[in-house]
Amino acid sequence: MADKQLTEQDIVAGLAEIVEEVAGVAQDEVTKEKSFVDDLDIDSLSMVEIAVQAEDKFGVKIPDDELANLKTVGDAVTYVAKNS
């Protein structure tokens, strides 16, 4: 997946799969405007698990200090698009 240009839609769909697997949140809940913590009820440790899986899936590095800036699904999409 990392080899070809990812569309925003690809990234949202990929993140939604990960979020569902890690935190049991239905995939259609995972939309760009949603806050991981406030809307999707994802805690800081689940965020790490999501980051680790996103690294594998999208071929990006998401260090812990960057992770703190990824408040919304949209933030994560932008980060992946920029760094993959």
Binding site: E49, V52, D64
Partner: protein
Amino acid sequence: MTSLRQATGVAATRILGIGSFQPERVVTNDDLSKVMDTNDQWIRDRVGIIERRFADKDELLVDMAVTAGKRALADAGLEPSDVDTVIVPNCTMPSPIPNAAGQVADRLGVTAAGAFDLNAACAGFCYGLSVASDLIKAGSSGRVLVIGAEKLTDVVDPIDRANAIIFADGAGAAVVGPSDTPQIGPVAWGSAGDLVDTIYMRDHRYIHQEGQSVFRWATTKIAPVALDAIAAAGLQPSDIDVLIPHQANLRIVEAIAKRLRAKGARDDMVVADDIKYSGNTSSASIPLALDHMRAAGRVSRADVVLAVGFGAGLSYAGQVFIAP
């Protein structure tokens, strides 16, 4: 050059007996929520702990170690005089001098024991078990008592909700001795000193952890260590009957188990969850879990057990052994 005679060891070792000790005082999540901003559900969700044990003010690390050591000797059917070496893995002695092991040996009645503490933090028990086995194989020791003991409540800020909910007190011991068949596998160990700043003593007084960094390290880097330990013992992941990771956080334990199952470990592999009722007791957590699981019938004699410890340093170690 003069040639020196060498000690003669044995080819193989095993665990001859185990024992543990926990303080009487049970501290529930509700108890903690009275002194800090936390609650039962939050703690269960984040770390999987339901309750833990705190030592009283005058109940010392050495006291807990002595009781666990006595119980392990009794379990092995041995007298103190049958042991010649005492190792006390720990990282919470009140001061660096004196060490715990000399006092523990003396109080147990192990006369003139070789005695030393071993600080590999939460990896301490697995380090100690490996060193004990190697001392016997090299001929330096006959039988060794390894006692992981910690009084973490001495080094945790009681109102720090990130750490005070996790750490607890206790001790767990194993007697290691010669064996006709090899029942302790080679250790897979190492350290990651580049991550030293993720777990340290704030103001030389209280434990501080970079929670997310430690969680990421433990959930991604420790399963490969466990797999190395399995391979070093000449086994496959499917051979493991019981997995006892250091009881750091139930979510870390489950993440390690999940990764091992993805590599062929069995679905019916028993996974230690002693943290639920014991909290994180650092170098005591693995032998505590082993003792509790055996008492509960979840571990039986001759089961193939995989233990893996990991913690401050950062340091890690794992090995396979046969349950006594």
